[in-house]
Symmetry: C2
Subunit: 266 residues, 2 copies
């Protein structure tokens, strides 16, 4: 069982990714694909006059402030990304099936409607937030679909325990899915070769991290890589065999990562 997460950053070629995934799926590999939607949501938000707003929590994490309008823009943007990924996989012969975490209670968690942030050096409270963290995975639904030969493609919109749609982090959602399914490998694809000792020098790639030392490497992670290292740590604690931080820009990004390219943790 392989769980792959792909973001939406520049330089990522969905066409090549889907060709590679379809080839592996046709070879009998059971695969779940999780995607993001940040960049597309930013573009759509700007174009529709509701520019994105990022906030820093008191614990130092930066995240998107997701008011109801932003949640709906996120539904639109991820709706398109999900459809295009499913389409490309279908064109390559894999029977892809798109779902959000909200669908069939696939991914559930608590909604964080109120967040404490730091702005201009002061603590503030922000309300009407539609975000949360995945706490439960409906493995029955995923197993059912995988058994029937479908390739689930999952958008990072979970459901709260009250049934509300919530924006969740895609990397950590992929980690939760991989742990729940007892996946052998979680592959987190990005637009760099893996974790770099001296960011952004790509020649400083760290090719292996022993699983016990993962948290020591957190300080090296820049920007979005932080969430990936956090997700990797959560997946390993949840029993996933290994986590690979791989390069989505390669012509065969998944096969290459499975063959050892990128940062292998485990």
């Amino acid at each position: 069982m392989l769980v792959v997460k792909v973001g939406g950053s520049k330089g990522i070629n969905y066409d090549m990714l889907c060709r590679d995934l379809a080839m592996l799926a046709q070879g009998g590999k059971r695969i779940v694909l999780v995607h993001g939607g940040s960049d597309e949501t930013n573009q759509l938000s700007e174009a529709l006059g509701h520019p994105p707003r990022f906030v820093t929590s008191v614990s130092g994490h930066t995240s998107r402030y997701t008011d109801r309008r932003t949640l709906e823009l996120f539904m639109m943007a991820t709706g398109k990304i999900n459809a295009v990924l499913v389409e490309q996989l279908q064109r390559q012969g894999a029977n892809a099936l798109g779902l959000r975490g909200l669908d069939g209670r696939l991914l559930s968690g608590k909604r964080k409607a109120m967040i404490r942030i730091i702005e201009d050096g002061k603590q503030k409270i922000v309300r009407d937030d539609w975000t949360g963290t995945v706490e439960q995975v409906n493995t029955g639904l995923l197993s059912l679909l995988l058994k029937e030969g479908y390739l689930p493609v999952i958008a990072p919109i979970a459901g709260s325990f009250d049934g509300e749609a919530i924006n969740v982090d895609g990397d950590r959602a992929a980690a939760a899915i991989a742990a729940a399914l007892g996946a052998e490998t979680l592959l987190l694809l990005t637009n760099v070769p893996g974790l770099l000792r001296h960011f952004p020098d790509e020649s400083s790639l760290i090719s292996h991290i022993p699983r016990a030392e993962i948290d020591d490497y957190l300080p090296l992670a820049e920007g979005r890589m932080k969430k990936k290292v956090l997700g990797a740590s959560e997946a390993l604690m949840g029993g996933v065999g290994r986590v690979i931080l791989g390069d989505a820009r390669r012509p065969t990004p998944v096969s290459d990562a499975l063959a050892g390219a990128g940062t292998v943790i485990g």
Copy 2:
């Protein structure tokens, strides 16, 4: 088995519709919900500077010209509508699960990449069109989900036989699903009480049409109602027990229609 199609016209209250559907689902009724996306796509297209274009085919049918950009806007708009419907059903306790026809090859058909249209009295050919008509339904997938207690919510984006995403008519897609599942009832909800003898006079509701006479009533159908009467005819020919043209604006639109409100055909 009940298949319900709801459009996105003004005056339709999704909240009340979902409450009614969830109540019926909790009472043990097996339900499939199909939705549209026209109005939301029009709004998004206008806002993003790619205004909708409607064309009239040589056979006299009016339809949306769906170039690739419009298809992607349709993916966004239906992505949001689908998510909001799933969310509202989940909040009411029904385990809804959203899919496009493209997902898992649920709905397949031929893509009509080229259409012959009439414009300014002249015949023209329009290319790069991403539309089609549903010819096959993956009943295995729907049955599997229904058996496990999920309530499928389906967006009218099918897959071509080559795996391309295609825009299909929601009413006719619902008819194809109802026929394939051998549904007892197909309910097509709209923002009028049913088929009217003298449109738009709502007091001229036709409350019953014998199944053999459905095609005689086609000339009475105005605008979008034409596709509904066509869908009704296709569903009845496909073996559906009865088709109801119902009023989505009522507080309990589905229960009312099942109790005989609207135009009952069969």
